[in-house]
Symmetry: C2
Subunit: 105 residues, 2 copies
Amino acid sequence: MTKIDLCPKFESAFQLLGQRWNGLIIRVLLEHGAARFRHLSVNIPAMSDKMLVDRLKQLEDAGIVQRRVYPETPVRIEYELTEKGKSLEPALNEIQHWAEQWINE
Amino acid sequence: MTKIDLCPKFESAFQLLGQRWNGLIIRVLLEHGAARFRHLSVNIPAMSDKMLVDRLKQLEDAGIVQRRVYPETPVRIEYELTEKGKSLEPALNEIQHWAEQWINE
């Protein structure tokens, strides 16, 4: 497979992670493991709950986040990274390192 | 500096690299060093010349690509990565590795 063939995959990865909040949600889940909605919401205070709902759905559709429903009373819902999501950590670290070093604004 | 402060830098890095062609242009320049417009154009055949002009300008504005004009006859113009651009290599490698492994479509 040549690099030109890989290009759409590569770009779709960057597009997903370039969307506002997605990188940060993944970061929080990497650090905390499974988390309830409220935990995510409190840890990313600048993001609205509606936005968090949308982003979690998008990350779930992309196979990066898994939503688990525990049939308790009241029902408990937790979000955690899939293997696909967890394996983003080295890439996120490298991008963060680069951004810290080179992006000033 | 907390991760939440870093977030906009992180996202702006991903947004830039998530734009169609930018990652590939950087890849070609990483492999070939300084290159003339024609060289880039031939190596990324699916991209129009107009798009290549736009992307190079965007990458130049972002401080990732440097455009050098050599006052010869005819004038020679070459594009190469700045230090900021070259230092993207580990991050691009990690993202590419992840995308190869996890993105199927």
